[in-house]
Protein backbone atom coordinates (compact mmCIF):
# COMPACT_ATOMS: atom_id res chain seq x y z
CA UNK A 1 0.00 0.00 0.00
CA UNK A 2 2.84 2.38 0.74
CA UNK A 3 4.17 2.16 -2.80
CA UNK A 4 0.75 2.98 -4.20
CA UNK A 5 0.59 5.95 -1.89
CA UNK A 6 3.99 7.11 -3.03
CA UNK A 7 2.81 6.86 -6.62
CA UNK A 8 -0.26 8.93 -6.00
CA UNK A 9 1.45 11.38 -3.65
CA UNK A 10 2.23 13.95 -6.36
CA UNK A 11 -1.43 14.14 -7.36
CA UNK A 12 -2.37 14.40 -3.74
CA UNK A 13 0.01 17.29 -3.26
CA UNK A 14 -1.25 19.13 -6.34
CA UNK A 15 -4.71 18.64 -4.94
CA UNK A 16 -3.66 20.39 -1.76
CA UNK A 17 -2.10 23.16 -3.82
CA UNK A 18 -5.26 23.68 -5.84
CA UNK A 19 -7.36 23.69 -2.69
CA UNK A 20 -5.12 26.35 -1.18
CA UNK A 21 -5.27 28.36 -4.39
CA UNK A 22 -9.06 28.43 -4.39
CA UNK A 23 -9.21 29.05 -0.69
CA UNK A 24 -7.10 32.16 -1.14
CA UNK A 25 -8.77 33.30 -4.37
CA UNK A 26 -12.21 32.85 -2.90
CA UNK A 27 -11.18 34.69 0.24
CA UNK A 28 -9.80 37.64 -1.70
CA UNK A 29 -12.93 37.88 -3.84
CA UNK A 30 -15.10 37.61 -0.75
CA UNK A 31 -13.04 40.23 1.08
CA UNK A 32 -13.41 42.75 -1.71
CA UNK A 33 -17.14 42.20 -2.02
CA UNK A 34 -17.57 42.23 1.77
CA UNK A 35 -16.26 45.76 1.89
CA UNK A 36 -18.17 46.82 -1.21
CA UNK A 37 -21.50 45.52 0.06
CA UNK A 38 -20.73 46.32 3.67
CA UNK A 39 -19.90 49.95 3.04
CA UNK A 40 -22.80 50.25 0.62
CA UNK A 41 -25.14 49.11 3.36
CA UNK A 42 -23.91 52.00 5.48
CA UNK A 43 -24.50 54.62 2.81
CA UNK A 44 -26.62 57.66 3.43
CA UNK A 45 -28.48 57.02 0.20
CA UNK A 46 -31.50 54.78 0.69
CA UNK A 47 -31.22 53.39 -2.83
CA UNK A 48 -27.65 52.26 -2.29
CA UNK A 49 -28.43 50.80 1.11
CA UNK A 50 -31.49 49.04 -0.25
CA UNK A 51 -29.62 47.56 -3.17
CA UNK A 52 -26.88 46.25 -0.93
CA UNK A 53 -29.44 44.81 1.43
CA UNK A 54 -31.24 42.96 -1.37
CA UNK A 55 -28.02 41.55 -2.80
CA UNK A 56 -26.80 40.44 0.61
CA UNK A 57 -30.09 38.82 1.60
CA UNK A 58 -30.27 37.09 -1.75
CA UNK A 59 -26.86 35.50 -1.60
CA UNK A 60 -27.16 34.66 2.05
CA UNK A 61 -30.59 33.17 1.57
CA UNK A 62 -29.67 30.77 -1.19
CA UNK A 63 -27.44 27.78 -1.03
CA UNK A 64 -23.84 27.91 -2.21
CA UNK A 65 -24.36 24.66 -4.09
CA UNK A 66 -27.20 26.22 -6.03
CA UNK A 67 -25.21 29.34 -6.77
CA UNK A 68 -22.28 27.30 -8.01
CA UNK A 69 -24.45 25.11 -10.20
CA UNK A 70 -26.28 28.15 -11.49
CA UNK A 71 -23.12 29.96 -12.53
CA UNK A 72 -21.59 26.88 -14.07
CA UNK A 73 -24.58 25.14 -15.67
CA UNK A 74 -27.32 27.69 -16.09
CA UNK A 75 -25.45 30.78 -17.28
CA UNK A 76 -23.92 28.97 -20.26
CA UNK A 77 -27.46 28.25 -21.42
CA UNK A 78 -28.07 31.99 -21.31
CA UNK A 79 -24.91 32.54 -23.30
CA UNK A 80 -22.51 33.43 -20.47
CA UNK A 81 -19.80 30.84 -20.12
CA UNK A 82 -17.27 30.91 -17.34
CA UNK A 83 -14.13 28.90 -16.87
CA UNK A 84 -14.32 26.80 -13.72
CA UNK A 85 -11.82 29.04 -11.96
CA UNK A 86 -13.88 32.14 -12.74
CA UNK A 87 -17.13 30.44 -11.77
CA UNK A 88 -15.67 29.31 -8.47
CA UNK A 89 -14.20 32.71 -7.64
CA UNK A 90 -17.42 34.52 -8.51
CA UNK A 91 -19.62 32.09 -6.57
CA UNK A 92 -17.39 32.23 -3.50
CA UNK A 93 -17.01 35.96 -3.79
CA UNK A 94 -20.72 36.59 -3.92
CA UNK A 95 -21.81 34.07 -1.33
CA UNK A 96 -19.14 34.70 1.24
CA UNK A 97 -19.01 38.37 0.36
CA UNK A 98 -22.64 38.59 1.41
CA UNK A 99 -21.84 37.07 4.80
CA UNK A 100 -18.75 39.22 5.05
CA UNK A 101 -20.78 42.34 4.34
CA UNK A 102 -22.58 41.78 7.62
CA UNK A 103 -19.25 41.44 9.39
CA UNK A 104 -18.01 44.73 7.98
CA UNK A 105 -21.24 46.48 8.78
CA UNK A 106 -21.33 45.16 12.32
CA UNK A 107 -17.73 46.07 13.03
CA UNK A 108 -18.09 49.60 11.68
CA UNK A 109 -21.22 50.14 13.72
CA UNK A 110 -19.41 48.91 16.80
CA UNK A 111 -16.88 51.72 16.64
CA UNK A 112 -17.80 54.08 19.48
CA UNK A 113 -19.98 56.99 18.44
CA UNK A 114 -17.50 59.32 20.08
CA UNK A 115 -15.01 58.56 17.33
CA UNK A 116 -17.46 59.61 14.64
CA UNK A 117 -18.20 62.78 16.56
CA UNK A 118 -14.52 63.52 16.92
CA UNK A 119 -14.06 63.36 13.16
CA UNK A 120 -16.94 65.75 12.66
CA UNK A 121 -15.45 68.10 15.21
CA UNK A 122 -12.15 67.97 13.36
CA UNK A 123 -13.87 68.61 10.05
CA UNK A 124 -12.70 65.41 8.36
CA UNK A 125 -14.40 64.51 5.10
CA UNK A 126 -16.30 61.24 4.77
CA UNK A 127 -13.64 59.34 2.89
CA UNK A 128 -10.83 60.49 5.10
CA UNK A 129 -12.88 59.76 8.17
CA UNK A 130 -13.48 56.21 7.05
CA UNK A 131 -9.98 55.56 5.89
CA UNK A 132 -8.02 57.07 8.76
CA UNK A 133 -10.27 56.71 11.77
CA UNK A 134 -13.21 54.39 11.53
CA UNK A 135 -11.99 51.48 9.44
CA UNK A 136 -8.67 51.08 11.29
CA UNK A 137 -10.63 50.74 14.52
CA UNK A 138 -13.24 48.47 13.01
CA UNK A 139 -10.62 46.16 11.50
CA UNK A 140 -9.55 44.25 14.65
CA UNK A 141 -13.23 43.46 15.31
CA UNK A 142 -13.62 42.00 11.85
CA UNK A 143 -10.74 39.61 11.88
CA UNK A 144 -12.05 36.74 14.03
CA UNK A 145 -15.37 36.43 12.15
CA UNK A 146 -13.54 36.73 8.83
CA UNK A 147 -11.29 33.97 10.08
CA UNK A 148 -14.31 31.76 10.59
CA UNK A 149 -15.53 32.65 7.13
CA UNK A 150 -12.17 31.70 5.68
CA UNK A 151 -12.45 28.25 7.19
CA UNK A 152 -15.91 28.02 5.64
CA UNK A 153 -14.35 28.85 2.28
CA UNK A 154 -11.75 26.14 2.80
CA UNK A 155 -14.48 23.64 3.52
CA UNK A 156 -16.57 24.78 0.58
CA UNK A 157 -13.65 24.30 -1.81
CA UNK A 158 -14.46 20.64 -1.37
CA UNK A 159 -17.48 21.17 -3.63
CA UNK A 160 -15.47 22.45 -6.54
CA UNK A 161 -14.83 18.99 -7.91
CA UNK A 162 -18.47 19.14 -9.04
CA UNK A 163 -17.46 21.72 -11.61
CA UNK A 164 -14.38 19.82 -12.63
CA UNK A 165 -11.70 21.46 -10.53
CA UNK A 166 -8.99 19.03 -9.47
CA UNK A 167 -8.63 20.11 -5.89
CA UNK A 168 -7.98 17.89 -2.91
CA UNK A 169 -11.42 16.26 -2.72
CA UNK A 170 -11.18 15.30 -6.36
CA UNK A 171 -7.76 13.76 -5.85
CA UNK A 172 -8.83 11.93 -2.74
CA UNK A 173 -11.79 10.41 -4.52
CA UNK A 174 -9.30 9.02 -7.02
CA UNK A 175 -6.95 7.98 -4.26
CA UNK A 176 -9.56 5.73 -2.67
CA UNK A 177 -9.16 3.28 -5.54
CA UNK A 178 -5.47 2.97 -4.77
CA UNK A 179 -5.32 2.83 -1.01
CA UNK A 180 -8.88 2.07 -0.02
CA UNK A 181 -11.73 4.35 0.98
CA UNK A 182 -11.20 4.38 4.74
CA UNK A 183 -7.54 5.31 4.48
CA UNK A 184 -8.06 7.86 1.74
CA UNK A 185 -10.83 9.79 3.44
CA UNK A 186 -9.24 9.57 6.86
CA UNK A 187 -6.10 11.15 5.46
CA UNK A 188 -8.22 13.76 3.71
CA UNK A 189 -9.92 14.69 6.97
CA UNK A 190 -6.61 15.09 8.72
CA UNK A 191 -5.14 17.18 5.89
CA UNK A 192 -8.10 19.55 5.81
CA UNK A 193 -7.90 19.83 9.58
CA UNK A 194 -4.24 20.75 9.41
CA UNK A 195 -4.86 23.32 6.68
CA UNK A 196 -7.61 24.81 8.84
CA UNK A 197 -5.24 25.05 11.80
CA UNK A 198 -2.76 26.78 9.49
CA UNK A 199 -5.42 29.30 8.52
CA UNK A 200 -6.15 29.86 12.20
CA UNK A 201 -2.49 30.71 12.79
CA UNK A 202 -2.49 33.14 9.88
CA UNK A 203 -5.63 34.79 11.22
CA UNK A 204 -4.06 35.16 14.65
CA UNK A 205 -1.09 36.86 13.04
CA UNK A 206 -3.40 39.32 11.28
CA UNK A 207 -5.21 39.94 14.55
CA UNK A 208 -2.01 40.89 16.32
CA UNK A 209 -0.95 43.22 13.53
CA UNK A 210 -4.32 44.92 13.30
CA UNK A 211 -4.60 45.49 17.04
CA UNK A 212 -1.13 46.99 17.15
CA UNK A 213 -1.93 49.31 14.29
CA UNK A 214 -4.98 50.65 16.03
CA UNK A 215 -2.74 51.74 18.87
CA UNK A 216 -0.58 53.67 16.46
CA UNK A 217 -3.42 55.01 14.34
CA UNK A 218 -5.55 56.22 17.21
CA UNK A 219 -2.72 58.15 18.71
CA UNK A 220 -2.52 60.27 15.61
CA UNK A 221 -6.11 61.38 15.81
CA UNK A 222 -6.81 61.77 19.50
CA UNK A 223 -7.98 65.21 20.63
CA UNK A 224 -5.61 66.68 23.13
CA UNK A 225 -6.92 67.40 26.61
CA UNK A 226 -7.12 71.13 27.19
CA UNK A 227 -4.13 72.18 29.23
CA UNK A 228 -4.99 73.01 32.83
CA UNK A 229 -4.70 76.66 33.57
CA UNK A 230 -2.37 77.19 36.49
Amino acid sequence: MTEQFVETAPFFLTGIGVTLLYTVLGALAALVLSFVFGLMSLSRLVAVRGFARVVVEFFRGTSLVIQLLWIFFVLPQLGIRFEPIAAATIAFGLNFGAYGAEIVRGAVMAVPKAQWEATVALGLGRVRRMRRVILPQALPEMIPPFGNLWIQILKSSSLLYLIGITELTYEVKQLQFDIGSLAAFSIALVVYFLIAQLLVLVIRWFEKRASARVGRGARQVVIEQPQAVA
Binding site: W70, F73, L189
Partner: protein, 223 residues
Amino acid sequence: MNGTERRLWNWDYTWEVLPELVKAFLKLTLGITAAAAVVAIVLGLLFALGRRADASWISWPTYWVVEFIRSTPIPIQLFFVYFGLPVVGVQLSALVTGIAVLGVHYAAYMSEVYRAGIDAIPKGQWEACTALSLSPRRTWIGVILPQVVRRILPSTGNQIIALFKETPFLIVIGVAEMVTVANQFGGQNYRYIEPITVAGLIFLLASYPTSVLMRRLETRLAR
Protein backbone atom coordinates in the same frame (compact mmCIF):
# COMPACT_ATOMS: atom_id res chain seq x y z
CA MET B 1 -37.26 19.87 -26.54
CA ASN B 2 -36.26 20.91 -30.04
CA GLY B 3 -38.13 24.03 -30.91
CA THR B 4 -38.07 25.34 -27.36
CA GLU B 5 -34.31 25.35 -26.85
CA ARG B 6 -33.83 28.93 -27.89
CA ARG B 7 -36.43 30.38 -25.54
CA LEU B 8 -35.12 32.06 -22.42
CA TRP B 9 -37.61 30.44 -20.11
CA ASN B 10 -39.74 27.44 -20.87
CA TRP B 11 -42.88 27.49 -18.76
CA ASP B 12 -44.06 24.03 -19.78
CA TYR B 13 -40.81 22.61 -18.59
CA THR B 14 -41.13 24.61 -15.42
CA TRP B 15 -44.53 23.12 -14.60
CA GLU B 16 -43.07 19.75 -15.32
CA VAL B 17 -40.24 20.08 -12.84
CA LEU B 18 -41.96 22.15 -10.18
CA PRO B 19 -44.07 19.40 -8.58
CA GLU B 20 -41.11 17.04 -8.49
CA LEU B 21 -38.94 19.67 -6.89
CA VAL B 22 -41.54 20.60 -4.32
CA LYS B 23 -42.08 16.93 -3.53
CA ALA B 24 -38.37 16.35 -3.05
CA PHE B 25 -38.21 19.51 -1.00
CA LEU B 26 -40.97 18.62 1.37
CA LYS B 27 -40.16 14.97 1.71
CA LEU B 28 -36.42 15.04 1.74
CA THR B 29 -34.91 18.46 2.16
CA LEU B 30 -37.21 19.41 5.02
CA GLY B 31 -37.17 15.93 6.50
CA ILE B 32 -33.40 15.76 6.46
CA THR B 33 -33.16 19.24 7.94
CA ALA B 34 -35.55 18.33 10.74
CA ALA B 35 -33.86 15.05 11.58
CA ALA B 36 -30.36 16.50 11.43
CA ALA B 37 -31.49 19.46 13.51
CA VAL B 38 -32.69 17.15 16.25
CA VAL B 39 -29.33 15.39 16.24
CA ALA B 40 -27.50 18.71 16.28
CA ILE B 41 -29.54 20.11 19.17
CA VAL B 42 -29.17 17.06 21.39
CA LEU B 43 -25.58 16.20 20.55
CA GLY B 44 -24.59 19.88 20.63
CA LEU B 45 -25.67 20.10 24.25
CA LEU B 46 -23.65 17.00 25.09
CA PHE B 47 -20.61 18.50 23.38
CA ALA B 48 -21.08 21.76 25.28
CA LEU B 49 -21.40 19.99 28.64
CA GLY B 50 -18.42 17.83 27.77
CA ARG B 51 -16.28 20.87 27.09
CA ARG B 52 -17.29 22.34 30.45
CA ALA B 53 -16.48 19.18 32.36
CA ASP B 54 -14.08 19.55 35.26
CA ALA B 55 -12.33 16.32 34.30
CA SER B 56 -9.80 17.21 31.65
CA TRP B 57 -9.90 13.71 30.21
CA ILE B 58 -13.42 14.60 29.11
CA SER B 59 -13.08 18.29 28.26
CA TRP B 60 -9.88 18.06 26.27
CA PRO B 61 -10.87 15.31 23.82
CA THR B 62 -14.32 16.88 23.45
CA TYR B 63 -12.72 20.18 22.50
CA TRP B 64 -10.54 18.58 19.85
CA VAL B 65 -13.31 16.39 18.45
CA VAL B 66 -15.51 19.46 18.06
CA GLU B 67 -12.67 21.43 16.44
CA PHE B 68 -11.95 18.56 14.07
CA ILE B 69 -15.57 18.28 12.98
CA ARG B 70 -15.93 22.03 12.54
CA SER B 71 -12.77 22.33 10.47
CA THR B 72 -13.32 19.55 7.96
CA PRO B 73 -15.58 19.70 4.90
CA ILE B 74 -18.98 18.08 4.87
CA PRO B 75 -18.40 16.26 1.54
CA ILE B 76 -15.32 14.53 2.93
CA GLN B 77 -17.19 13.64 6.11
CA LEU B 78 -19.97 12.21 3.95
CA PHE B 79 -17.52 10.19 1.88
CA PHE B 80 -15.79 8.98 5.01
CA VAL B 81 -19.00 7.62 6.49
CA TYR B 82 -20.58 6.40 3.27
CA PHE B 83 -17.54 4.90 1.53
CA GLY B 84 -14.97 4.60 4.27
CA LEU B 85 -16.87 3.03 7.16
CA PRO B 86 -18.13 0.02 5.16
CA VAL B 87 -14.48 -1.08 5.11
CA VAL B 88 -14.80 -1.75 8.85
CA GLY B 89 -18.26 -3.17 8.49
CA VAL B 90 -20.45 -0.12 9.19
CA GLN B 91 -22.83 0.28 6.28
CA LEU B 92 -25.30 3.13 6.36
CA SER B 93 -27.77 4.19 3.70
CA ALA B 94 -27.08 7.45 1.93
CA LEU B 95 -30.01 9.07 3.66
CA VAL B 96 -28.95 8.03 7.16
CA THR B 97 -25.39 9.03 6.37
CA GLY B 98 -26.59 12.44 5.28
CA ILE B 99 -28.64 13.00 8.41
CA ALA B 100 -25.92 11.71 10.70
CA VAL B 101 -23.12 13.74 9.14
CA LEU B 102 -25.10 16.97 8.94
CA GLY B 103 -26.36 16.40 12.46
CA VAL B 104 -22.93 15.81 13.93
CA HIS B 105 -21.40 18.67 11.93
CA TYR B 106 -23.98 21.12 13.20
CA ALA B 107 -23.78 19.69 16.69
CA ALA B 108 -20.23 21.04 16.65
CA TYR B 109 -21.56 24.53 15.82
CA MET B 110 -24.36 24.18 18.35
CA SER B 111 -21.87 23.42 21.09
CA GLU B 112 -20.53 26.93 20.62
CA VAL B 113 -24.05 28.36 20.68
CA TYR B 114 -24.81 26.53 23.92
CA ARG B 115 -21.48 27.62 25.40
CA ALA B 116 -22.22 31.27 24.73
CA GLY B 117 -25.71 30.88 26.15
CA ILE B 118 -24.52 29.17 29.31
CA ASP B 119 -21.76 31.71 29.86
CA ALA B 120 -24.32 34.49 29.56
CA ILE B 121 -26.33 33.24 32.53
CA PRO B 122 -25.59 35.65 35.40
CA LYS B 123 -23.37 34.24 38.10
CA GLY B 124 -26.05 35.11 40.66
CA GLN B 125 -28.33 32.41 39.28
CA TRP B 126 -25.71 29.75 40.00
CA GLU B 127 -25.13 31.22 43.46
CA ALA B 128 -28.83 31.24 44.27
CA CYS B 129 -28.95 27.56 43.39
CA THR B 130 -26.04 26.91 45.75
CA ALA B 131 -27.67 28.97 48.48
CA LEU B 132 -30.81 26.86 48.17
CA SER B 133 -28.74 23.68 48.16
CA LEU B 134 -30.16 22.55 44.83
CA SER B 135 -28.62 19.45 43.30
CA PRO B 136 -26.65 19.82 40.03
CA ARG B 137 -29.46 18.02 38.24
CA ARG B 138 -32.06 20.41 39.52
CA THR B 139 -29.80 23.40 38.93
CA TRP B 140 -29.36 22.50 35.27
CA ILE B 141 -32.82 21.19 34.46
CA GLY B 142 -34.90 23.56 36.59
CA VAL B 143 -32.98 26.80 36.44
CA ILE B 144 -30.09 27.05 34.00
CA LEU B 145 -31.22 25.20 30.87
CA PRO B 146 -34.66 26.83 30.66
CA GLN B 147 -32.92 30.21 30.66
CA VAL B 148 -30.27 29.07 28.18
CA VAL B 149 -32.87 27.72 25.76
CA ARG B 150 -34.69 31.01 25.80
CA ARG B 151 -31.52 32.95 25.11
CA ILE B 152 -30.22 30.79 22.28
CA LEU B 153 -33.45 30.46 20.31
CA PRO B 154 -32.44 32.97 17.61
CA SER B 155 -28.93 31.55 17.21
CA THR B 156 -30.30 28.03 17.09
CA GLY B 157 -32.77 29.11 14.44
CA ASN B 158 -29.93 30.57 12.40
CA GLN B 159 -27.97 27.37 12.70
CA ILE B 160 -30.94 25.35 11.50
CA ILE B 161 -31.31 27.68 8.54
CA ALA B 162 -27.62 27.22 7.75
CA LEU B 163 -28.06 23.47 8.02
CA PHE B 164 -31.03 23.69 5.70
CA LYS B 165 -28.95 25.54 3.14
CA GLU B 166 -26.26 22.88 3.27
CA THR B 167 -28.57 19.93 2.60
CA PRO B 168 -27.68 20.16 -1.11
CA PHE B 169 -24.23 18.94 -0.13
CA LEU B 170 -25.84 15.52 -0.02
CA ILE B 171 -25.69 15.61 -3.79
CA VAL B 172 -22.22 14.13 -3.44
CA ILE B 173 -23.53 10.85 -2.12
CA GLY B 174 -26.55 10.81 -4.34
CA VAL B 175 -29.34 11.55 -1.87
CA ALA B 176 -32.19 12.69 -4.08
CA GLU B 177 -32.96 15.88 -2.21
CA MET B 178 -34.28 18.83 -4.10
CA VAL B 179 -31.09 20.15 -5.68
CA THR B 180 -29.99 16.68 -6.77
CA VAL B 181 -33.36 16.22 -8.43
CA ALA B 182 -33.02 19.61 -10.11
CA ASN B 183 -29.59 18.64 -11.32
CA GLN B 184 -30.88 15.34 -12.64
CA PHE B 185 -33.62 17.09 -14.59
CA GLY B 186 -31.07 19.46 -15.99
CA GLY B 187 -28.74 16.67 -17.01
CA GLN B 188 -31.45 14.52 -18.56
CA ASN B 189 -33.04 17.31 -20.57
CA TYR B 190 -29.90 19.32 -21.27
CA ARG B 191 -31.65 22.28 -19.78
CA TYR B 192 -30.66 23.61 -16.39
CA ILE B 193 -32.16 27.07 -16.17
CA GLU B 194 -35.62 26.18 -14.99
CA PRO B 195 -34.92 23.40 -12.49
CA ILE B 196 -31.99 25.08 -10.78
CA THR B 197 -33.59 28.51 -10.73
CA VAL B 198 -36.80 27.11 -9.30
CA ALA B 199 -34.80 25.17 -6.70
CA GLY B 200 -32.97 28.35 -5.78
CA LEU B 201 -36.21 30.28 -5.44
CA ILE B 202 -37.73 27.62 -3.23
CA PHE B 203 -34.70 27.89 -0.99
CA LEU B 204 -34.96 31.64 -0.88
CA LEU B 205 -38.67 31.51 -0.16
CA ALA B 206 -38.06 29.11 2.68
CA SER B 207 -35.03 30.65 4.29
CA TYR B 208 -35.58 34.41 3.96
CA PRO B 209 -38.80 34.68 6.00
CA THR B 210 -37.33 32.36 8.60
CA SER B 211 -34.23 34.53 8.88
CA VAL B 212 -36.35 37.61 9.34
CA LEU B 213 -38.32 35.77 12.01
CA MET B 214 -35.12 34.89 13.84
CA ARG B 215 -34.01 38.50 13.82
CA ARG B 216 -37.34 39.64 15.23
CA LEU B 217 -37.11 36.94 17.88
CA GLU B 218 -33.67 38.16 18.81
CA THR B 219 -34.80 41.73 19.42
CA ARG B 220 -37.84 40.54 21.35
CA LEU B 221 -35.81 38.31 23.63
CA ALA B 222 -33.26 41.03 24.25
CA ARG B 223 -35.72 43.04 26.33
